[in-house]
């Protein structure tokens, strides 16, 4: 039938000639170079270059509009004697540590709750994520308003419940301010933990749970010996991201307290902003934010090593 007919008009007996560009892009290495070019340009221009520029700024005495001269490590040694900076370092560590532990604990709890079957599960899951997707600055304003000493709905509720008897100055009291800021950070971060860990939980085969139950493991033992070890790799990555973001946090504090009262909530980033942008001391501001770098590096390296170890096992 027609097969031989069609076979007879062979269209491609000869390899067609290709243009130079086509031939170049058939070479994996050239194609990769072309594909990566836009990314390398953008990241080079706005990550690598600023990083170099930041290092340079931090060893000069530049201010806004004044190029500045090389001053060596003067900016960094000055920081070591800057009591506000030292407070900011301490605050940042407390803020990061406490918030991370709380976010992990509550996030895991919420993930376990959401992993069960109940009516309206998809709905609940979608709504629970709202604090994470709504612009942080905007939702933080709601908290600032809820923390307002005179008009606080939180105070009213606690008073009505008989838990407190006087007014609480959530953000104005230096001993409370950091706690309040942590509460908001935890509020914003728990959904991220919960949804990520929930995704991790859903990859765990329920048969493992059932097998453990048949083996006589109690719920707590099932969690500790089956669920938790399997969830650990995901957990570590989530914690890694969260720790970096928390350590470098800016917006929550900027809106809630501006670093006050009396620097009680001053963090690396807010202090860098205050000096570098607020007072225009570019070089010192750059030094403050660069001072974050070694800490971040250590955190990242330690966690990546740990993640690798966990994944090997």
């Amino acid at each position: 039938m027609a097969i031989s007919d069609v076979l007879s008009h062979r269209a491609f007996a000869q390899a067609p000639r290709r243009g130079a560009a086509t031939r170049l892009l058939e070479d994996e290495r050239w194609l990769a170079a072309v594909l990566l070019l836009p990314t390398v340009i953008l990241l080079g221009l706005f990550i690598a270059y600023p990083f170099v520029e930041g290092v340079w700024l931090s060893v000069t005495d530049a201010t806004v509009g004044v190029p500045g001269h090389f001053v060596g490590l003067a900016n960094f040694t000055a920081l070591l004697h800057d009591s506000i900076f030292l407070v900011a370092v301490r605050n940042t560590f407390v803020y990061t540590a406490v918030a991370t532990v709380l976010k992990l604990a509550l996030g895991l709890w919420l993930a376990l709750l959401l992993n069960r079957h109940f009516r309206g599960k998809a709905f609940t899951r979608a709504f629970v994520l709202l604090p994470f997707i709504i612009p942080t600055v905007l939702s933080t304003f709601a908290w600032k308003w809820m923390f307002d000493p005179t008009f606080s709905v939180i105070n009213w509720t606690l008073f009505q419940l008989g838990i407190i008897h006087g007014r609480i100055n959530w953000l104005g009291d230096p001993s409370l301010a950091l706690i309040s800021v942590i509460i908001v950070n935890v509020w914003r971060g728990v959904p991220f933990y919960a949804i990520s860990l929930l995704a991790g939980l859903q990859t765990i085969n329920p048969e493992l749970q059932e097998a453990a139950a048949i083996d006589g493991a109690r719920p707590w033992q099932r969690f500790w010996h089956v669920t938790w070890p399997l969830l650990l790799p995901v957990t570590m990555v989530v914690v890694l991201f969260s720790v970096i973001q928390t350590f470098a946090d800016f917006q929550l504090v900027y809106v809630l307290t501006g670093g006050g009262p009396a620097n009680a909530t001053q963090l690396f980033a807010t202090y860098a902003y205050q000096i570098g942008v607020g007072t225009g001391l570019l070089s010192q501001g750059a030094a403050v934010s660069l001072a974050m770098f070694p800490f971040l590096l250590i955190i990242v390296v330690v966690q990546l090593l740990y993640i690798r170890r966990v994944e090997v096992h």
Partner: protein, 363 residues
């Protein structure tokens, strides 16, 4: 003309020498099957032929052109993959038309050719469907269709049937053979399944460890394997092997193995004479072991105990204990053997295979 020549073809992955000096000439319109266990280099060879894998050294010729430096798109070949590789976001029609569109074939021509291929394969009714709406066998046909609309110079098949269930596999095997007869195009087919190789190939290339062991027509491989590997790989159930020592006894050559001894006829003895006093390996196919009916000369019989009886309907497989060896015999369904029976088996001398104990080459 679309013959394919592989000339001294080598492939290195870092330190691993995956394909070793493969030389092969595939004639125009021939159906050649590369067969071997996994990791034998058959797929790598095919992928070098397709241009998907760079060639470390040597040459590949399609027609009369050296295609080493041609991109896959310029080699005028078509390939069917094990997992079908159907584009999931395209309809069956678009899947089949893709290659033609890429080559800027006229729209009407595309429609004609897709329609024609669909008719041949019986998938006319599915042209509008997406691949995920098809069964495994239908997907397989679409993958074939996509290859044949192209009218390529060479068809390449990379284990195309191994994702199908056993029954469908047999059916598709027959269809593939018919299709090839009809299209009359050179085809190179890779499989690890020796039955597929034997039934489909005009010639079969057996590979192991990157080296071509033997090239030949199916029956040639079956009847005259060049070494122990080919002998064991081709045929199912696999050939039985037993080490034996050759001994000269009163002018006759004897092969003594654990559990049986053979007195070899003169023509074979002449061939094996140089091995006298040394160890060789005797190979005998299960289908060449028959229950002896008494008239056999004693020098070509031995006794064995039946350990397992597998009744397959058309044949019966007997797992035998012979001395220290286990052997498999494929006998007539009428044989009333039971576990524990002691039976006498007869060997046809001309059906025996002998291999050098160290080089494993056929003697």
């Amino acid at each position: 003309m679309a013959r394919v020549i592989l000339r001294n073809l080598n492939k290195f992955y870092d330190d691993v020498h995956a394909v070793k000096s493969v030389n092969l000439e595939i004639r125009d319109k021939e159906f050649v099957v590369l067969v071997g266990p996994s990791g034998c280099g058959k797929t790598t060879t095919l992928r070098m032929l397709a241009g998907l894998e760079s060639i470390s050294s040597g040459q590949v010729l399609i027609g009369d052109t050296v295609v080493n430096d041609l991109a896959p798109m310029d080699r005028d070949i078509a390939m069917v993959f094990q997992n079908y590789a159907l584009y999931p976001h395209m309809s069956v029609y678009d899947n089949m038309a893709f290659g033609l569109k890429m080559r800027k074939v006229d729209r009407n021509d595309i429609r004609k050719r897709v329609q024609e291929a669909a008719d041949i394969l019986g998938i006319q009714d599915y042209l509008a469907r997406k691949p995920r709406q098809l069964s495994g066998g239908q997907r397989q046909r679409v993958a074939l269709g996509r290859a044949i609309v192209r009218h390529p110079q060479v068809f390449l098949f990379d284990e195309p049937l191994s994702n199908l269930d056993a029954k469908l596999r047999v059916q598709m095997r027959v269809e593939l053979k018919k299709l090839h007869n009809r299209l009359n195009t050179t085809a190179v087919y890779v499989t690890h399944d020796q039955v597929e190789a034997m039934t489909l190939g005009d010639r079969v290339v057996v590979m192991r460890g990157g080296v071509v062991q033997q090239v030949g027509e199916p029956l040639e491989l079956y009847n005259a394997p060049v070494n122990r590997f080919v002998a064991g790989f081709i045929g199912s159930p696999a050939m039985n092997f037993a080490p034996a020592r050759l001994r000269d006894g009163a002018g006759k050559l004897h092969a003594d193995a654990s559990g049986f001894g053979l007195q070899l006829p003169a023509d074979i003895a002449a061939r094996l004479r140089p091995y006298t006093g040394r160890e060789v390996i005797v190979g005998v196919r299960p289908e060449d072991l028959q229950v002896a009916n008494g008239s056999y000369p004693p020098g070509l019989c031995f006794d064995a105990m039946v350990e397992v009886v597998e009744r397959l309907g058309a044949e019966v497989l007997l797992d035998l204990q012979v001395g220290q060896h286990t052997m498999v015999a494929s006998v007539e369904p009428g044989v009333a053997a039971r576990r524990g029976d002691k039976l006498r088996f007869a060997l046809k001398p001309e059906r025996l295979h002998f291999f050098d104990a160290s080089s494993e080459a056929a003697i």
